[in-house]
Point group: C3
Chain length 675, copies 3
C-alpha cells in the first residue's frame, strides 16, 4: 500500500491553482468532493514562484494550498518544481540552459529545459528539494513526493562534454581501453588524450535522424545522458530522504521512452509512476504492454498511474474526445495491469499557453454539468466502493519478455542492414501473441531472475551483455524454453561484433550459424514453409524485412524459406539444450505465424489462457493473499460474450456471473470467484 | 484619381535598366510607346548604386533615367531603394543583418534582408528617403512614391530583443500585467524583470513549423514584428512627406500575407498597392478575394495593382506560361475588384541572378515580335481607350466578411484541437459561396463600420477583442444578420480563454453553449441533418474537421449531427436577437451546404446576384457618380452564355448587348447600361 | 599497363588490419592466397596512428604490414591516410575543422572532415605525403599511390571565404568585371571591395535544398570548392612525384559525383580510379554510363575499379545481398567498360563503427567457407587465367555524349522554369538509347576532340562556354551529326543569359528561334506528332516537362506538338549545316521516341550494333593491337539466346561459339574471334 492514510486506489491528478484565483480554487475543492477526488499533485511547475531569486524562497502560497486541500480531505502528491527553471536563473546562470544536438545554445523557454550537468541547476534544484522536504516533512496531507517531471531530452554543452570525459574515464580507466572499445583505428579516430573526445552530435558523429558514424561513442553518450539525469534525480531524492526517511519518492516516467534506461532508474525510486497518453491510433495491446513494462521495472510491484487525460489531449495532430466509457475502461486497464492509482492530467484546465486545450476534470466552463465531469464522478464513486481490496495485489506470469534499453539504442543506431527494424515493434509483435490469448506476460530485464519463468522470449537480442549468454544457457539447461530472433547475438556492450560467426555467444545455445543476413525492400516478401506441423501451424506463411541465411549446428529445422536463392534454408529452428529448448526465428513473420508458434510453446509448458474471449476483450488477473481477481475489459463498442468456467461475482456491481456471460461495449468487470 | 497628370488606368511596371546599357534602354523606350506603357517603377533595388559608402550619394544615373522616361512620355513610380542594403553596409554595420528564428546571424545576401530594429538601417534608410524626396520633389514625371518593397520576414537579434522589451513595457506598463496576460504561472515562466524576457524563437518557445509553448508571447512578437517594419516604413514615409506634402506614398503589399497586419499598415499609406502572383493552382475566387481584401484595407478605396507577371513566374516549382488571353483577363479582374492601375513585374527581363526566368514585357530576345508583347500592347491600347471612365469608382456591397490578422496568428498558433484548421481557407469557403453567385462582398476588419452591411460573416472568430462582442450585438439588435462558426469566441486578445463556457463573449448573442470540441481525423466525416428545409437545403450533408458538442440557450436548432455519440446534437443554430439573427455553424461543412445556407441568408435580406452566370463566369460591379459598370469575365477556355435583363453597351468594343449573351473563352466585357 | 610487376587485372581491395591483431592478419594472408588476391590498398585512414602528434611519426606498423603483404605475394596500393585528420589535430589546430553550409563550425568526427583551405591541414597533409613517399619510394610492393580518399563535401569557414576572394580576384582581375559577371546591379548587390564578398551559403544567398538568389556567385563557389580540394590533392601528388617521379598516383573518384569537376581533376591524375556502388535500384545502364564517364575522363584510357562491395552495402536503407553471380557479372561489366582492375571494399569486415555491416571478402565469421568467399575465389582464379590479354585495350566508339560539370551545376541551380529537370537523368536517357542497342558511346567533355566522332549528342547544353559554339559548328560543317535539346544555349559561363533569342550561340547552327518555354506539371503531357516517318518513327509519342515554343529559321520540322495552344509548332527540327546535320529536340520525349530517333541517326552514319541481343544482355567491345574482345553480359536471372555472325572462342572457358548462342543467367562471355 502506498500510504496507510489512504487505503484505496488514489484518485486525483495534477492541480496548478497558482494559475487562477482563490474563488476558483474554492470552487475546485467543492467539485473534488463531488468527484471523489482524494489526491492532488501540486507544485510541479512553480519554481519561479517559490524562488524569485537566488536567496529568497516564498512558500506561503504552497502552505495555504496544501492546508486547504487537506482541510477539504484531499491528500497531496508534492512535486519539487524543478522541471522548469526560472527565467531569472537562465539570465543570471546561463549554464542552466541546454545546448542542442546542433550545438545551439538554447534561450529561456519551454520546460524540461535544464542542462543535467549544469553546476547551477544541480545546486539550485538540490536546495529547493531540501527546502521543501524540511518544510513539509511532517505535513499530514503529503503522501508521495514527486521529483521534477517527465525527465527527458539531451544536452551537448561544454559542461556535458567535460562530464562525459569524466564518465568515460570511470568506465574505461585508460584511453587504450576506450580506443579498443570504440574501435577507433577505424577512420583514424585514435584518441591520445581524454580532452580530444567531443560529444557525439550533429556537428561531429551524427547526421540525419538517428545515424552515427561511431555507434560505440553514441551508445556511451546515451548511457551518460541517462545517467546524468538520474544524477539530478538522485540529488533531489537524497535531500528528501534526509528529512523524510520514510517518504515515498517517485518521478513520473513515460512508458517506452527511449532516452532513459528506466530499469536503472527504477532502482532509485520508491515506487514507479508513469503518464499514460496513448496516441489516437495506439493499439490497446500496446498500452497494456507499456503498463507491463512499468510493472516490470520493479519486478512486479504495483505502480502509480500518475497521469492520463480525462478526454482530449492537445499535442496530437487531431485531438479527438475520448468516447463515453473509454476513460473508465482505460483507467481500469491500468489497474488490471498493476496500477494502484488513477490520476489525471489535469484537474482544471489552464486558460493560457500550450496546454489550455488539454482535457481536464474541470473544463473551462467551470461547473460540474459536463459529460466529462459526470464520467469522472461515476468512476470516483466506484473506486471509493472498491476500497483496499485490490491494493498491492500482483499479476502472476510464467512468461517473460526480455527488454533492454541499451539494446534498443544499439539496434536503432546500426548502420545497416535495414532501416525498417524497430525494436519496440518487434517486442510488441511477440507480446501481442500472448496478449491476444489472455496469457499474462512480464516484461523483464537482463538482470531479472529468469528462474521465475517457464518461457523467456527475447526478440532481436542484438547486444549480448557479459554473462547473459551463460544465464540463458543455464535457464534452458534447467528446462526453460527460450526464443530469440534474427539480428541477435551480434555485438557486445560496446557494439563490437562478436567474430567467429553469428549469433555469437548465443550460437552454442541455439545450435545454428548465421552466414548471411539479407535485407528485403518493404514490398518484398519471402515464405515460411512449415515442415509438417507445429501445433496448429502448417503450410506457408509470409515473412520479410530481414532474412538470415543460416546453417544448423545441432538444431532441428522446423520451417524453411520458400523463395529466393536461399529457398530450403532453415527459417525456424529448435535446439534441445539440457532439459530445455531454444528456438530461433530467422526472419520477421506475419502475426498469424507468431501466434501459432507461441501458442505451441505455451501448450508445451501447459500455460493456458486466463479465459477464452472474443477479439477486443482483454483479461488479466491480479492475486492478493491467494484471492484472485479477473479483470475483463471489452474494448469493443458493442456487447461481447464469453464463457466462464465457474461462478463469479462482479465486484463493480455485485452481479453473479457464470457460464455464457455478456459484457457491454466498453464495459469492465472485476470478477472474484463466488464463495 | 491617383494623379491628374495621368487620368487613366496606369499601365506599366518595374523597370531596372541599371542592369543593362544605354542602347538597350533606348530600345526599351521605343517599345514602351508601342505597348502603351505610361508608368515605370524605378530605383527599387539600387541602394548600392545610389550610395557607394556612408557619405557619398550618386543619383546622376537616376536623374538621367527619370528624365529620359519623362521625355518619352513615361511617368515614374519612384522607389526608395531600401529593400536590400548594400554589401558595404553589411560589412561595416553588421547590425543591419538579421538573425533568423534559429538564432543564426545572417551574412550579406538576398534581399529584404535588413533588421527592422537596426539603428544603422533606420538611419541610412531614413537618410536616403530624404535625399530622394528632396531631389525629385518637383520632378514632373514622379506620380507615386514607393517605399522599400514587399516588407516581410522577421528578425530575432539582440536589437530586436531589446526593442521587444520596450514594446512590451509600453503595452503592459507593469511586469505583473504582462505575467497575467501571458499566464506565466504556467510552466514556471514568471518574469520578475523585463530583461528576463527573450524573443520567442526556435531556441526558446518555438519548435517545428508553427508551434509555440506560449501563444501569448508569440502573438505579441508577431505584433511587434509587424509594428517594427511599419516603423521603418513610417520613417521613410515621413521624410517624403516632409519634402513633398502632397505626395502619394505607398508600399507594395502581398494580399493574404500572414506576417504583417495590413489593416494597421493601411492607415499609414496614401493608397494601397499590391503584387498579385496567383500560384499555378490558385482558384480565381481566391485571387478575387485577395483583391477584395486589398480594397477593404482602406474601406473600399481603389488600389494599385503594382505587380503581376505578363506570363511566367520563376519561383514556382513548375512555371507554366499564362495561356493566350489570361494576362488580359486577370488584369481586368483586378480592375473589376477595384484596381485603378495595371502594372507588371517586369518591363524587361534581367540576364543574371534568380529572376532572369521571370516573365517580362520585353523578353530576352529583345524585340516586339513575341506573343507576350503583342498581348501587352493590345491591352495597352484598350486601357488607353477606356480613359478615366472607371477611375475612382466603388464596388457597392451589403455583405461584409470579417477578417483579422491577429486572429489568424492566434488560430494557427493554437496547440490543439486540430492541425487541419487553416483560417484563410475558412474565409475563402464562405467568400466563395458569395462569389460563385455574383454577390459582391467586402472584406472588413473589426474596426469597420458594420452598419454599412446587412450581413456580417465571421468564420472562426477565435479571438474576440475588447468591444467586438458589444459591437456585434448592436449590429444584430438593429436587424443585421450575423454568422460565425466553430472555434469562435474562445480567447481574448492575449490568447487567454474566456472561462464560463464557449463561445465566451459571443454566447449571449448566439444563444448557445459549446460543451466539447471533437477533432476528426482527415478521413473521418460526420453528417449535417437539416430539420425540414432551409431555403433549398434539405436532407443530409457532410461535415468534419471540428465538431462542437453544443447546447442551445435560446437559439433554434436548424440542423443536427447525424453520426457518432453526439448524433442529434445541434450543428446549425439561429438565434433571434433584437431585430436580427445570429447563426452558428458548429462544424466544417461541405461547400454545397454553405452555398445553400448563404443563399438563404441573402434571400432573407433580398440580396440578389448581379447576374446569373454559368460556372467560371465572374461578375462584379463598379459604380461612379451613379453610373454602373458590370464586369463580366469568362475564366473558362470556351465560350459561355448568360442572360442580360436590360440593354447594355460593352465599353471594350462598343457592342450592344441584351438578352441571351455570349462571351468568348477568357474574354472580358465591361457593360454599361445603354442610354 | 599500370605496372609491369603485375601484368594482369589487379585483384584485391581495401585492407585495414590496424583494426585487428597479428594472428587475424596472418589468417588474412592465407586467405588472400586462396582467393587469388594480389593487391591490397592500405593506410587509407591511419593518419592518427602514423602521426600521434605534431612532430612524431610512427610508421613501424606500416613497414611490417607492407613487408608481410609483399612476402605473401600481395602488392600494395599505398594511401596517404589524409582523408580523416587526427583528433589531436582538431583540438590543437581547429582551423582543420569545416564550417557547414549553415555556418556551423564542426567538431571532431566522421571522415572527409578537413577544410580544404585550412593552413594546418595543407601543411600536415603535405608533410605526411612526403614522409610516406620518402619512406616507401623504393619498396617493391608499392604499385600505386592513393591520395586521400573520395574527396567531397564543402566548407564555408573564414579561411575559405578569404581564399574565395583571392580566387575571384584571379578570375576577374577587377571588381568591375566581377560585378558585370554576377549582374550585381540586380537586387542592389554591387560590390565596391573584394572584402565585401561573402561565401554563398544558407546564411547569405542559398536556401532550401539547392536554391540560390545569385546563380553566378554560387557557380563560382562550386568551381572554387572543386579547385580547393584539387589543390589539396595536387600538394600531395607533388610530394610523391618529388620522391617517386615514375609513380602511378591516383585518388578514388565516385562516378557522377556532383561537387567535383572530374574532367579538371583527371588532368592531375596518372590513372583514373573509382568506387562503384550502384544503389539497389540503379539500372545497369546507369552503371555502364558511369564506367564510360570514368573512362572518358582521360580520353579512353583504362581505369581502376578501386572499390565495389563483394555483397552487401551498409549505408542503403535496405542492404540486400548481391545474388549469386552478380558480383562476378558486375566485376566484368567494369572490365568490359575499360577497367583494368577489380578491387573491393573491403578485404575483411571491421568489428566496430559504421561500416561493420558492409560486405567484405572475409566476413565476421573469419573463415573461407562462405558463399561470398567462394565467389571471390572463383573470380580470382578466372582473372589469373586471363593474364594480360585484355590489359590496356580500348573501346572504339563513333558516338560522343557531351557531359559538363559546370553545366550540371548551372542547370540545377536555375530558378525556373521547372524543378523537374535533372541533368544526369537527361544524359542517361540519351545514353540508354545507344546502350540498349549495343552501340558503344563515349562520354566526352567540351575540351574533347570532336573529330573522333560521327555523332555528338549534347542533351540540355544550357551553358555554352566560349568557343564551344564555333567548335560545334565546325564539327557539323565537316559532316558531323549534332543533337541538342530544350534548355540549351541559354547562358554563358557566368550563367548570364545570351540575349537576342534562345538558343543563343547555337541558334545559327540549329536554324531555330525559341520564343517561349512552357513548364508542365508532372501529370501533364503533350504529344509529338511525326511528320511522315523518321526511320521507324511515325505517328504520335508523348512528351512533357518543358516544351519550347519555337520558330524555324532554316531548319526543317520533323515533328510537331499535338496539343495545347502551341499545337502545330515544331518539336523536332533538323538543320542542314555544311556537310552535316543539327537536330533539336524541343521537349522531353518518352524513351521509345528517343530510341527510334537515335537509331535513325546511327543508321544515317552506318553505325551498327556490336551484336543484336535480347533485353538485359549487354555487349561491349575492347580492342588491343587489332585484336577484338566482345564482352557479352547477361543481366537477366534466366538464360538468354542471341545470334553470332562468326566463330568465336569464349576466353573464360575456351568454348567455341557461333550462330545461335546461349548465355546462362548472370553469366559473362568474353569472345575472341576464332583464328
Amino acid at each position: 500500500m502506498i500510504s496507510n492514510k489512504l487505503p484505496k486506489i488514489f484518485y486525483g491528478g495534477d492541480y496548478n491553482p497558482e494559475q487562477w484565483d482563490q474563488e476558483t480554487h474554492r470552487e475546485d475543492l467543492r467539485m473534488f468532493k463531488l468527484a471523489g477526488i482524494d489526491i492532488a499533485t501540486v507544485n510541479v511547475f512553480a519554481w519561479a514562484l517559490n524562488q524569485p531569486d537566488e536567496t529568497t524562497y516564498n512558500f506561503e502560497w504552497l502552505d495555504e494550498l496544501i492546508d486547504s486541500l487537506h482541510a477539504n480531505g484531499t491528500y497531496v502528491c508534492l512535486a519539487t518544481s524543478t522541471a522548469a527553471h526560472p527565467a531569472w536563473m537562465a539570465k543570471r546562470y546561463p549554464d542552466v540552459l541546454r545546448t542542442d544536438a546542433d550545438g545551439r545554445k538554447r534561450k529561456f523557454g519551454g520546460r524540461h529545459n535544464s542542462c543535467p550537468n549544469s553546476p547551477a541547476y544541480r545546486k539550485f534544484s538540490k536546495d529547493i528539494a531540501a527546502k521543501l522536504a524540511e518544510r513539509y516533512k511532517d505535513h499530514p496531507a503529503v503522501l508521495v513526493w514527486h521529483v521534477s517531471n517527465e525527465y527527458g531530452g539531451d544536452c551537448y554543452c561544454e559542461n556535458c562534454e567535460k562530464a562525459f570525459r569524466v564518465w568515460l574515464r570511470e568506465r574505461y580507466g585508460t584511453i587504450e581501453q576506450l580506443n579498443r572499445a570504440w574501435n577507433t583505428n577505424f577512420w583514424g579516430h585514435t584518441f591520445y588524450d581524454w580532452d580530444e573526445i567531443v560529444v557525439p552530435n550533429n556537428l561531429s558523429e551524427h547526421w540525419g535522424d538517428n545515424n552515427s558514424t561511431f555507434q560505440g561513442i553514441s551508445l556511451d553518450y546515451a548511457r551518460f545522458n541517462s545517467d546524468s539525469m538520474l544524477e539530478c534525480y538522485k540529488l533531489e531524492h537524497a535531500e528528501i530522504k534526509k528529512h523524510v526517511p520514510n517518504s515515498v519518492v517517485t518521478t513520473n516516467l513515460m512508458g517506452f521512452f527511449k532516452q532513459l534506461d528506466y530499469f536503472k532508474w527504477a532502482k532509485e525510486m520508491d515506487i514507479v509512476s508513469w503518464d499514460n497518453y496513448p496516441g489516437l491510433q495506439t493499439p490497446v495491446s500496446y498500452t497494456a504492454m507499456a503498463h507491463d513494462l512499468m510493472r516490470g521495472l520493479k519486478d512486479g510491484d504495483p505502480f502509480m498511474l500518475m497521469e492520463q487525460t480525462p478526454s482530449q489531449q492537445n499535442w496530437q495532430p487531431y485531438n479527438s474526445l475520448k468516447r463515453p466509457g473509454v476513460m473508465r475502461l482505460w483507467s481500469y486497464q491500468a489497474v488490471a495491469h498493476g496500477a494502484d492509482t488513477v490520476m489525471f492530467f489535469q484537474l482544471r484546465r489552464s486558460v493560457g499557453a500550450c496546454e489550455k486545450y488539454h482535457g481536464a476534470v474541470i473544463e473551462h466552463v467551470g461547473h460540474e454539468n459536463t459529460r466529462v465531469f459526470r464520467e469522472v464522478s461515476e468512476l470516483g464513486r466506484e473506486l471509493g466502493e472498491l476500497g483496499d481490496r485490490l491494493l498491492d495485489s500482483r499479476l502472476p506470469s510464467r512468461v517473460g519478455i526480455l527488454f533492454d534499453w541499451e539494446n534498443w539504442w544499439a539496434v536503432e543506431k546500426s548502420s545497416g542492414p535495414t532501416v525498417a527494424l524497430n525494436y519496440v515493434d518487434q517486442i510488441h509483435k511477440y507480446y501481442k501473441s500472448f496478449y491476444d490469448r489472455n496469457v499474462q506476460a512480464d516484461i523483464v530485464s537482463v538482470d531479472s531472475d529468469f528462474s521465475n519463468y517457464d518461457i523467456i522470449v527475447a526478440p532481436v537480442l542484438y547486444m549480448v551483455k557479459p554473462g547473459l549468454a551463460d544465464k540463458l544457457e543455464s535457464f534452458v539447461e534447467k528446462g526453460g524454453t527460450f526464443l530469440t530472433t534474427f539480428f541477435s547475438g551480434i555485438v557486445d556492450e560496446s557494439d563490437r561484433v562478436k567474430t567467429g560467426g553469428y549469433p555469437g555467444e548465443l550460437r552454442k545455445l541455439l545450435g545454428i550459424w548465421v552466414e548471411e543476413i539479407d535485407a528485403l525492400f518493404p514490398d518484398m516478401r519471402n515464405k515460411i514453409v512449415v515442415n509438417g506441423e507445429i501445433g496448429n501451424l502448417k503450410g506457408e506463411y509470409e515473412c520479410g524485412m530481414l532474412c538470415d541465411l543460416l546453417h544448423t549446428e545441432g538444431a532441428e529445422t522446423l520451417a524453411e524459406y520458400g523463395e529466393d536463392f536461399y529457398k530450403g534454408m532453415p527459417v525456424l529452428t529448435r535446439h534441445s539444450f539440457g532439459k530445455g529448448q531454444a528456438y530461433y526465428v530467422a526472419s520477421d513473420p506475419e502475426q498469424t505465424f507468431l501466434n501459432g508458434l507461441l501458442e505451441q510453446l505455451c501448450a508445451d509448458k501447459d500455460i493456458q489462457p486466463l479465459l477464452n474471449t472474443p477479439e477486443g476483450v482483454e483479461v488479466t488477473q491480479r492475486v492478493k493473499d491467494g484471492e484472485e481477481f479477473l479483470f475483463v475489459m471489452n474494448h469493443n463498442a458493442e456487447v461481447s460474450t464469453y464463457e466462464l468456467g465457474g461462478n463469479y461475482v462482479n465486484l463493480l456491481n455485485g452481479d453473479s456471473l457464470s457460464g455464457s456471460t455478456q459484457i457491454a461495449g466498453r464495459d469492465v468487470q472485476i470478477l472474484s470467484p463466488a464463495k
